[in-house]
Symmetry: C2
Subunit: 325 residues, 2 copies
């Protein structure tokens, strides 16, 4: 199914008076940054707009989320438009599904290759490095009012989803869009300090504990780290503090697949997967009913921590064996 | 004194048959990347060109340096042009000074604000985020043959000197230039993996050990980490593996001054200092006969590890008290 045009989607937003924006659960820089940029641009155009969340905004993203995000489902009783960003499936905003469907029109803007059109209007482009790029293009097409704050939210989205312009999803267009954001007066260094240099001592302790316990399999091609509830207690950290550690695990020489298994509760683990050069980790995630991109994917498994590690280890080794020759 | 134009410098290079290129000692991504890009472009134009070094190329940059770099001072007996890149002072290539001066013409292309014109032709632009940006502009002005390999060397230069586009030196033009490099077919992710994702498991173990032992002083504004010889034995790492950890210490929330004290031998410690927002750590380094920049400095102290930590702690707290109000 082909995408609707940004013109069509822009017109649907322009015709609306009230818009609710839905980033995915466990909001990352791209989800929250895209939502904030869109929300602010809509408000500047005179619309009533809010970001509706069902969990808390990560500490390092609160500085951009400000008063745009709310947990109050009644903030807009009957939204003209509900738009989900950086996700293309109800499972990514489960508690907000009914509210999403209460929108007179629904829109999806996403860059995940696994997403399928499921709204009245859809723009899903897996060639985009970040949903932030798509929101930039949508706002440009709408001729929406842009400013420094919108630019910084989009920079947050793009820099975080491209691993600071190092991942293979980064394109010529990514840099061209960021060059345009500089015209809005963004302070990329200030954003960077907020995003990356505001790590809590508890997170630092957790990270070093995770990294000291990484296990290697498949001649060092597979590296698995884990976070138990006990480790959280010992370090005083929260589960979300483990965010990003999987990339550090991947940065070890020789590692092709990096895994971080997070014990969410007794029999529920959240698994993050990263590929380095050739491995397609989205397939591993899909085999556990998860999804994502070739080099970055995730899934949730209803198992104990040790069972989850074992299950992922097996699947990942199986996947690695396909590339062996 | 004003800069010569890229046209003038380009013409001097075009008129030459043999060119020797001088990056600074302890070559970083910008120095080596700029030198490689220039060297390859000159060779593709039919010139005899080499990069002359007086120390070894860092492990993570060898993949771009290839056969362009040599320690052989006789590789070109009487160079038509000697050009130094990313440095503007003989002290940055001390053992090669005489060889540099043997060039029939000398050229300097640099972006350090402290550099003064000292060659026949000079282009010093402290507004450039990296010397790589200046080499790109020079090659474009010369209409020199560009290819993927040149693009990747310039990407290395620019991404490393801008902290992956996060430092405040990054500009709109930085991203515009990198967008142009994509037209050459660069594989930024491959470069990034070579530069950053080839960390040995020993280094990872050492890093996590250092970070687990960081101590905080001055209400968390001062964070001090250390590496003992025992820690090296326990992890199997080398002292140089601690490189970069001081930046991780700085990334902790609230930390303004980050310190890493490395026990080199029994009564000799190497100290790395980093400032985050306002502290001038070069002053602390200077009080121990070291030096550096405002936000990154270092010194060597002849003390035991514990005495060194104590001495630096005192000086750093003294420095922090100057900013208190």
């Amino acid at each position: 199914m082909s995408n609707d045009s940004f013109k069509t989607i822009g017109n649907a937003l322009k015709a609306a008076n009230s818009i609710l924006i839905f980033p995915h659960v466990n909001g990352d820089g791209d989800a929250i940054g895209s939502a904030v940029a869109l929300c602010r641009a809509l408000r500047k155009s005179g619309k009533t707009a809010y970001i509706l969340v069902e969990d808390s905004i990560p500490q390092n993203l609160k500085f951009i989320a400000l008063d745009y995000a709310t947990c109050n489902f009644h903030v807009i009783a009957e939204p003209d438009v509900c738009i989900c960003v950086d996700c293309g499936d109800y499972s990514r905003f489960p508690k907000r599904k009914d509210k999403f469907l209460s929108g007179k029109k629904t829109i999806c803007v996403d860059h995940h290759g696994t997403s399928k059109p499921f709204c009245n209007y859809n723009y899903i482009d897996s060639a985009a490095a970040a949903t932030g790029e798509l929101i930039y293009k949508l706002l440009a097409e709408m001729d929406a009012p842009m400013d420094k704050e919108i630019g910084e939210a989009l920079f947050t989205a793009i820099t975080m989803d491209t691993g600071n312009f190092q991942y293979s999803n980064t394109t010529k267009e990514t840099h061209e869009i960021v060059a345009k954001l500089y015209e809005l007066g963004i302070d990329a260094n200030r954003i960077s300090i907020e995003l990356y240099e505001s790590i809590s001592p508890e997170k630092m302790r957790l990270e070093s504990k995770i990294l000291s316990k990484v296990q290697f399999f498949g001649k060092g091609k597979l590296a698995i780290g884990f976070v138990s509830q006990d480790m959280l207690k010992e370090t005083g950290a929260k589960l979300e503090d483990a965010e990003g550690v999987v990339s550090q695990i991947r940065s070890i020489n020789g590692v092709e697949i990096a895994v971080l298994v997070k014990e969410k509760e007794e029999l529920v683990c959240r698994v993050s997967l990263r590929g380095k050069k050739y491995a397609d980790v989205s397939k591993i995630a899909e085999s556990f009913h998860g999804g994502g991109h070739k080099k970055a994917a995730g899934c949730t498994v209803e198992m104990s921590l040790s069972d989850a590690i074992k299950a992922i280890e097996e699947k990942a080794l199986e996947s690695l064996s396909e590339y062996a020759n």
